[in-house]
């Protein structure tokens, strides 16, 4: 394994760039976004990283060349798709951390619950309260008492994985993997596939698509004209609402972190003047207060993602 993180060209920077210390604008949009985006290194204090300010993640590949470039033939979209490089990024590490924490916590909880004892302690009660809340207030009302059982593990996993990813963004020097469209889009795609799968399993591969058109008592000529249009709108809606599912989580997490970045950027902007002694405490207080809001948003967005997943599955298995 070679430490080739520096050679990757997205969101990372040469040590040589450090020569331009303070030469750039801390409020530059690209620069701020660069701090929120995924990278092949963790940003850490210089004293912990040998003066570079970066803890570079060891890479498997030692090459600048992309393995593949994905193109859909539409430049604005192509510009949004990064090349496939087989790299290991910060968000990947954080996803593994979040998944490991979730797995550790709930496998341990399952072991405790196996004995059939009543919940003891704050953590056990808290976790059970969350599980039962998702089951009773999200899965069952949205999907139905009987069918919710089948999809409950998926909804629990989505909720706790998203929550774990969101909460990691509140830890200094880490980041929120849900602040990347690749993460939220993949989760939304998994939801989409589950919705389609659940609908087709319930109503058959053809019946599911027919069920997208609401039953209407229309005269035949009108039905021939209107129903295909309604079908097209409904299918588009199916795609759009899952895309929005991804965008909603991404926007909330990115926006929160950008605001925090801006608040802290005031410190960087005033770093070389005496004003920093006034600006820094104000920025810290502002960032602390905003972090409280972010903590709430982390839970809220995880809940919304899980709730909408359950709702979409419920709509697929109980059309109209």
């Amino acid at each position: 394994m070679a430490k080739s993180g520096e050679k990757h060209d997205h969101g990372e920077h040469d040590d040589a760039a450090a020569e331009g210390h303070g030469a750039h604008d801390p409020f530059d949009a690209g620069h701020l976004i660069g701090h929120v985006k995924d990278a092949t290194y963790f940003e850490v204090p210089r004293m912990l990283s040998g003066g570079t300010g970066k803890l570079v993640i060891p890479q498997i590949r030692n090459s600048l060349e992309p393995i593949a470039t994905i193109s859909v033939g539409f430049k604005p979209v192509d510009d949004m798709i990064e090349p496939f490089e087989g790299k290991i990024t910060k968000f990947m590490v954080l996803e593994v951390v979040a998944a490991t924490l979730v797995a550790f916590v709930f496998i341990r909880l399952a072991g405790q619950m196996k004995g059939g004892e009543r919940p003891r302690g704050r953590v056990w009660n808290l976790l059970e309260a969350l599980l039962v809340f998702i089951r009773d207030e999200v899965a069952r009302p949205c999907i139905g008492e009987h069918e919710a059982k089948k999809f409950l593990p998926l909804i629990w996993t989505i909720f706790f994985f998203v929550l774990g990813c969101n909460l990691l963004g509140l830890v200094p020097w880490l980041g929120s993997p849900t602040g990347a469209l690749a993460t939220t889009g993949t989760l939304a795609l998994i939801t989409f596939l589950c919705v389609i799968g659940a609908g087709m399993a319930k109503m058959g591969p053809v019946g599911f698509w027919f069920a997208q058109v609401p039953s209407m008592e229309l005269p035949l000529p009108l039905a021939i004209v209107l129903k295909p249009m309604i079908f097209a709108i409904e299918v588009m809606g199916l795609f759009i609402k899952h895309f929005v599912l991804a965008m909603r989580l991404l926007a909330n997490m990115t926006a929160g972190h950008l605001v925090l970045a801006v608040l802290l950027a005031f410190i960087a902007a005033s770093w070389q003047s005496m004003a920093v002694w006034g600006v820094a405490p104000a920025s810290i207080l502002g960032a602390t207060a905003f972090s409280m809001l972010e903590l709430f948003v982390a839970f809220l967005q995880a809940y919304i993602f899980a709730f909408l997943t359950a709702l979409f599955i419920g709509m697929a298995v109980h059309p109209h």
Binding site: G34, M92, A110, L154, L264
Partner: protein
Amino acid sequence: MMIRRKTVIGLLSCALAFCALAGPVWAADEGAGEKHPSAENPLSVDPDLAIFTAVVFLVLLTVLWKFAWGPICVALDAREKGIADNIKAAENAGDDARKLIAQYDEKLSGAADEIRELLEEARRDAEHTKGQIVAEAKHNADQEWRRVQRQIDTATAQALKQLAETSADMAIDLAGRVVQAKLNKDDHAALIQQAISKFVSSSPSEN
């Protein structure tokens, strides 16, 4: 309060130190070289991360499904069933208790009736006994009365008989004396007086 203030000051100091350390990192951050057009686009999609996310999520889902959600679902269902069973058992116990209360109430009301009946019977017995005693007393009194009456009658009869005998004797005696001697007026009065006093002294009884 003191601890809380110290905690706040400590946290603020840590945050200040963090920013002091992070500040230079931030300031040193600089883009370099040719970048992909998506590098500064917050909506860019990294296929590496997308594939990795799918793998991590599916592995997590599988692991949790097998080792956590399954046992947790079973445990939650078992607990819910246990709670439902307990509630059912409690309801049954409540029903049983209510039935027992009804039975005891019935018994209590039966006991009250029984007591009333007993009291009534006792009262009847007492009345009966009272009547019996009174009747017996009356009977005894009647018998005593009749006995006394008979004794009085007997005594009266004896007295009358004795009076008759005494009167006859005196009459005979008086007649004898009249016959034997000529009596003047004074003798006559003295004889009568004498006869009366004798009669009084020889009366049968005062009862």
